[in-house]
Amino acid sequence: MWRLWLMALGLGFLLVSCRKNVDEPQPPADDFAGFVKPANFPAPVYKLENNQVTKAGFELGRALFYDPALSRNNTISCGSCHIQGSAFTQHGHDVSHGIDDRLGTRNSPAIMNLAWMPSFFWDGGVFDLDLQPVVPITNHVEMDETVENVIRKLQGMPKYRDLFKKAYNSEEITTARLMKALSQFMIMCVSANSKYDKVKRNEAGETFTPEEQAGYALFKQMCADCHTEPLFTDNSFRNNGIGIGFNNDEGRAMITFKPDDKYRFKVPSLRNLKYTAPYMHDGRILNLNGVLNHYAAGVKQTPNLDPLLQKNGGLGLPLTETGKQQIIAFLNTLNDTDFINNRLLAEQ
């Protein structure tokens, strides 16, 4: 009897699958969900209405992201300096090195939760993610190419004629199409699955340990004004007192020409710190102990030092040894292994 039932089921299945092939469009090959806002995140600032993420657009963007054709001598891809296993930074390098091993002047920032970021680079010189890739592509020490020539190269590659056609229903490669595909890939680099996120979303009974909880309390008291939850940055530009760097990088003032902006840099997110060392705009601090020690005892009085770091007549933050370790324990709950292992974001 149950064999008959199975046969009927099989027949039913066959029938369904026949009907599917004949009458219905093919189901998607996988369950690509597009851009999904995590429940504990605010609304994104990236204008998704001008660039809806599609599977084909994302896949085109991913292919471009990992393609060295974007560089002058076809040796450097975006992925060369933004490595997934390092939360899309160039782990272990103080300043990033690009084409012909030329050195940059700043530490490559993480490509992570960019849809919530109103400006890009340590100085915020670019305010639209779609314009961001022009900088590394044309920078002499990064990819040293022109966008015009990248388009010419891509036009000569059958793979891209196919991928652009899938994404945009035509083979034509324009600046906007190229950049928007890269944006689709980049905004899909969402990190929101750390222990912290699970605790916040009450997932699977996840809770902080007492040490993490104590660190979280200290964090909210001393760090969260700038490293605002849940993205762990308020996207402002501040001088955190690390002292003027080796090349007198003036940071935000190089964009605004305002004396008040000298030595201010973008407040970085604190997510995935385990993978993104070294720290600060020029990668001068090697580990989290060093960072906490800086805020406890290393803050230097330089022009435009942030007022939050010079309260009560002293410099820095009143951190005890125990307090530092508790904060580090909390910061470690912001590491997201799902993000760095997400196959969807990897070179295929």
């Binding site: 305010f127 900088v135 020539n149 950049m179």
Partner: protein, 258 residues
């Protein structure tokens, strides 16, 4: 010859009545000059008010957001999407801006020298043609501090200090639309009165040509005078405001052919 004179006389004397429902061509000609001389790239030598000799190798600027006002006071705004032009002295065809506007007798021409802040922050798909950030050949976009270079003039001058390449060059790259609270806004609105030099009588079957002069000497000569020796490289910094204030006076109307 006689025929030509007759034709040109009849053109001026018997101008047809205006039908504002009909569009007709008008050309804005940007004739780049240097004081009393026609500008000759890489060849002509000129002397500014401070006595500094100079030669111009590159001259490019954006003309956008063109508006024309007729003698009735009615303003015609060229549709924004088709109102961006790059005048490049090295490309003769780029110095004539061809438009189709309603028939009328136009008394003023207004335009933005540069690219307005709205377009400078617009979606990339709305920035094509001369505004395409990929068009590396024109070098009129700053990538690291997102924005267009509105006005670019480069050249050589014995007054300029020797640069890293061993040359005595001056480079003026002026832009900045006041983004990110920057005090630098070099977007300039230029208004030119055509009444003294001749109204633009735009009619179907004719081609009104408004001959404008753009005098690069005005980049240096103004209040204050700009010295090549003291400022051989002016990019997006604070001094760019002095240069843009000077060059906002470079445009004059010479005459109109109707």
């Amino acid at each position: 010859m006689a025929g030509m004179i007759l034709t040109s006389c009849s053109k001026n004397d018997k101008i047809e009545p205006v039908n504002t429902e009909v569009k007709a061509p008008i050309i804005l000609e940007f004739d780049n000059i240097a004081g009393d001389n026609n500008l000759q790239l890489n060849a002509g030598t000129y002397i500014n008010a401070l006595g500094e000799q100079f030669t111009v190798n590159t001259l490019k600027y954006f003309v956008s957001n063109i508006k024309l006002t007729n003698t009735n006071g009615t303003q015609y705004i060229v549709p924004q999407d088709s109102s961006y032009f790059l005048v490049d002295e090295s490309l003769p065809e780029s110095t004539d801006i061809r438009l189709n506007v309603p028939e009328g007798d136009y008394k003023t021409v207004e335009f933005v020298l540069g690219v307005d802040s709205l377009r400078s922050t617009m979606d990339l798909s709305k920035r094509t043609g001369v505004l395409d950030v990929a068009s590396g050949h024109d070098g009129m976009y700053w990538s690291w501090a997102s924005g267009y270079i509105f006005f670019k003039m480069e050249g050589t001058s014995p007054a300029a200090p020797v640069d890293g390449t061993g040359q005595r060059k001056f480079r003026y790259h002026i832009g900045g639309f006041g983004s990110a609270g920057s005090p630098i806004n070099n977007v300039k609105i230029i208004k030119i009165d055509l009444q003294a030099g001749g109204l633009a009588k735009v009619r179907k079957g004719r081609e009104s040509q408004v001959h404008l002069m753009a005098d690069v000497m005005k980049v240096f000569n103004g209040a204050p005078n700009v010295s090549i020796a003291a400022n051989s490289n002016v990019m997006s910094g604070l001094f760019s405001q002095t240069v843009s204030s000077n060059y906002s006076n470079m445009f004059t109307h010479n005459h109109t052919h109707n």
